[in-house]
């Protein structure tokens, strides 16, 4: 509300604060014997005070008894105490004291408030934060998350999430949406996506892919989407969207897709080529738990069907019908957020023209949502099926853990070649922040097996991911 007199003055104060923090840290690091002093750190205005402490009075004899002799038990404790002393000194003098002094000095210099001023604006309605993400088997990324609520209009929100890494890895998502209706329960928005990364994975198509078939390709994607989302009633949401996508594929990191697959063979890699398409999609979410998971019971039933019609507007015979459905039941076994769930999900795509559907548009499994023991895009086919048993439970006010066991695979059209023996198993543990649906911090450790008809069935995939991700 009340800014400093000039921005120049503000920056000067910020620099002074940072310098003070750095000085405090430097002085403390130079004084490793600081642990010998009492834990009390007396400072004045954020500066350490090298004061000569006054002599202390003698400790009173409070009870008039001589101290009891050390027992054998207490004497024995000196052994581990001496053994662990170096660790204690390191923790106390090189970790604890410098860190506490550093943070104290930073607080005294209002560094957090200055950073908040630098990275947030408009009374916190706009802000910029760094992000980082790493998924085993893919390139890590660092980036930013920018938001601006009520931009231009009280009902208009704007979000931009970007990331980048070496080897020409970039990703940018922009979303601009307007809140509709008197209670803001509906949104109308436009999203733009740009992706350019060399680490998209491809194992082949269908149920018979093997771990050894792993290859990479580069994808350049430009996507524009107009979308509407609104509540139909207390337990239903409707999403409608129209997407235009321009996709380009090229050689990725090694082993690249060309090294193991014949990209000119449409049966092996359908349409490894540039293409445009338009897709209209409608999703219906029928969830008896209500739209807000944080304030409604964990028990309920979810049914989420979706239907999409897509195709290349410039190619008369390249179009398809895509549909998916998820049926799930949840039981809050404790009433306190310990939710047992059973989810069945299938996604199917059906060419309605003569041409093959681009391989990248085929339903896929893996990643952080479906068959989580595998990386994103591990399985591709004209149809997919997963069955998941999950147990989600709170471990902190802002953290949930989830145990999951899934079985699934990608198959030919209409699950034609489905059999239980051709499923892969995946299980693992995920920990996620639960503060916002749109953004979460995830840690996932998953394991995947080869197919159930293998002999022996064994773990052939470890999937680990950590970082900021989209929400549940």
């Amino acid at each position: 509300m009340h800014r400093p007199k000039t921005e120049t003055e503000g920056l000067r104060r910020l620099r002074a604060g940072v310098a003070r923090v750095a000085t405090a840290a430097f002085l403390l690091l130079l004084a490793p014997n600081a642990h010998a002093a009492p834990a009390y750190s007396v400072t004045s205005g954020g500066h350490p005070v090298p004061a000569q402490p006054p002599p202390k009075r003698a400790v009173p004899d409070y009870d008039g008894r001589s101290p009891p002799p050390a027992s054998a038990a207490e004497s024995t404790l000196w052994i581990p105490r001496i053994v662990l002393f170096p660790v204690h000194v390191v923790m106390e003098s090189f970790v604890r004291k410098p860190l506490v002094a550093l943070v104290t000095a930073a607080e005294d210099a209002h560094v957090a408030q200055w950073l908040a001023r630098v990275f947030t604006w408009n009374d916190g309605r706009a802000g910029l934060f760094p992000t980082v993400f790493w998924e085993l088997g893919f390139r890590p990324s660092v980036g930013f998350y920018f938001f601006y609520d009520e931009l231009f209009h009280p009902r208009h929100d704007f979000v931009m999430h970007g990331g980048f890494w070496t080897d020409n890895w970039q990703q940018l998502k922009v979303d601009s949406r307007v809140r509709l209706f008197h209670d803001g329960s509906g949104t109308l928005g436009v999203s733009l996506d740009y992706v350019n990364r060399p680490d998209r994975i491809f194992y082949g198509i269908g149920a018979d892919t093997r771990k050894a078939d792993r290859t990479y390709y580069r994808e350049r994607l430009f996507e524009t989407r107009v979308h509407f989302e609104g509540e139909l009633s207390g337990l239903s949401r409707l999403r409608v969207g129209l997407t235009h996508r321009f996709d380009q594929f090229a050689r990725g990191q090694s082993p690249s897709i060309e090294e193991k697959h014949d990209i000119r063979n449409p049966r092996e890699v359908p349409r490894f080529d540039d293409f445009n398409f338009l897709e209209g999609r409608i999703d219906l979410i029928l969830d008896s738990r209500g739209p807000d998971r944080l304030t409604t019971s964990g028990s309920g039933v979810l049914f989420q069907p979706s239907l999409a019609l897509g195709g290349d507007p410039s190619a008369e015979s390249l179009h398809w019908l895509r549909w998916s459905a998820e049926l799930a039941g949840f039981l809050d076994v404790s009433g306190g957020g310990h939710v047992l769930g059973l989810r069945v999900f299938t996604e199917q795509v059906e060419p309605t023209g003569d041409e093959d559907i681009p391989f990248n548009e085929l339903p896929s499994l893996g990643g952080l949502e479906r068959l989580r023991g595998y990386p994103d895009g591990r399985f591709r086919g004209y149809s997919t099926l997963t069955v998941t048993v999950q147990y989600r439970y709170p471990i902190w006010a802002f953290l949930d853990a989830e145990l999951f066991v899934s079985a699934g695979n990608a198959f030919d059209r209409h699950l034609r070649d489905f059999s239980i023996e051709r499923l892969h198993l995946a299980w693992g543990l995920a920990v996620r922040t639960n503060t916002a649906r749109s953004l979460s911090f995830d840690v996932l450790l998953g394991f995947g097996t080869n197919r159930l008809d293998s002999d022996p069935v064994k773990v052939d995939q470890i999937h680990f991911a950590i970082g900021v991700n989209h929400g549940f």
């Binding site: 009340h2 400093p4 007396v42 009075r57 409070y62 908040a116 306190g336 953290l399 853990a401």
Partner: protein, 599 residues
Amino acid sequence: MHIRPRDSATRIWALAVTLVALVAGCTSAPARFALRPPLWQDADMQHVGAEPKIHVSGLYADALDQTFLRPTADFFAFRAPNEAQNVNAFDEVPDSSWFTNRLGRHDLDAATVAAGACAEGPALRAEDGPWTVVAAKTEGVTPGFFIKAADGQRYLLKVDGPLRPERASAADTIGSRLYHAVGYHAPCNTVVFFSRDDLTIAPDAVAADDVGDERPLVTEDVDYVLDRAVQLPDGRLRASASRFLPGRPLGPFRWEGTRPDDPNDVVPHEERREVRALRLMAAWLGHFDIREQNSLDMLVEEEGRRFIRHYQIDFGDSFGSPWADDRLNRRIGHSYYFDAQQVLVDLVSFGGVSRPWHRSWDGSNAGIFLYYGTRDFAPADWRAIYPNPAFSRMTELDGLWLSRILARLTDAHLRAVVAEGRLSDPRSERYLLTTLTARRDAIIEYYLGRLVPIDGIEIADRSATADGPQLCFDDLAIRHTAVTPDRVRYRVRVMGGANLDQRLGWALFRPDPERADRTCVTLPLGAARPSARVPVGSPPDYPGRYAVIEVYVQRDAALTATRLSVHVYDQGPREGFTIVGIVRDAEPVHLTSAFPEKG
């Protein structure tokens, strides 16, 4: 030694000590007390020559330190649990710059308890003249400002805010009075009513923004605060006023170590019984925000001496202060803000450990005191907002000490204190009084129901009479109806000799039905008394005069009993017995080994 430590590191080392003790065995003659009066005044208010420095405490730095860094470093320090250092021969805490025995040693009427520290200075009343706003309050979550009353006395004025109105101001007032009554140093916090016209802004009044930049305070700043105040039907506003403490503020005190610049401060704070036991006070009131920043050292000058006095301040979070996120509200008191131990246990147990916050909470009758209740209140397991090194080292005897003081706090005291909250809704007042009383009783029952409940020990009729001198004591468990008298049996024996292992006499009896909570037993027990065995003319502190009178409290014919040992010098039939020490056992003893007599 039996100690129930509060954090995982201390708990692990306590287990190690117990195991080694079991292997090594530990039997020794009880240590003797010197023949001298108990220390009731700690001389820690001596003149401080050098100018003490201001301690700057970081809100996040302290949270980071206490949540992660200090527990990790402490784990490797291998500090075994121990009893507090500043305990006198009577198992009590002497008066000091930290604590003054009020209820613990004196009978205070309800009005005195309700007045708290406010009895020591002028009252703040709007009708006595305008209040001049001199500065805005920039720290903490409650908006407010600093004012100067017509008599020149300064106050911090805080309003309640829109969420659960009246709770914060009532909590600040009631909390300060209760802390004061028990013996802690606390400011005079009081609920005040005033109108906007009672306030004027000083010409040099300043406000500071979030980065510390100061600027002149304007009417809009005052309006910003007052717009959040509770307004009465007659238009007056409600706030809590905290009278400035005398002296110069030196910043918060740490919960561990000592101040290097205070020569009086020689006992590490985490080794002080009254500091450790603050945990139980905070548990009682739900004062979860009892952290470093809510304490204050003041450099005071009294009778020509300048010294540091240690205060508890700001109790406004007590009685169910709400967080924006309900998931945190449900955890308050049961869990730290981030409780690494609980997170880990819940993770690896797949949420299999039942937690209080898993169960739904019916707060329909709690009103503004939502989540301050009695359900799931476990005094020994209560947790503040983050770990505290002193609280982690609180022992059973520390808790027992404070529960003895709380046992002297009557329902009439509580009624008078709660009335100072000036709550507009009688149902809220009734709920708060009921809950405070029930939580106090839960603490009393937890400690006095398991450990030795005896207090008020004295030798009556010291001069020789027909009946002889008597050892008298109160049974606080019976007084507080934590146990019925018919369930109680006392066994008393007198031990003497060079190693205090010779039984000189014993008695077995039940509480007197006429006055069950006060019992007296005539001394000496048995034919021989210690003074009869010493040479004629031996000095008063001659070792042979020493005896220990052990009082065992047995319930329901259990095989164990709690024990209190009264150490005495027997000065003969004429001078009688002089109590020199009182020792309470921190765990029940087996009667078969300690008291083999049948009965």
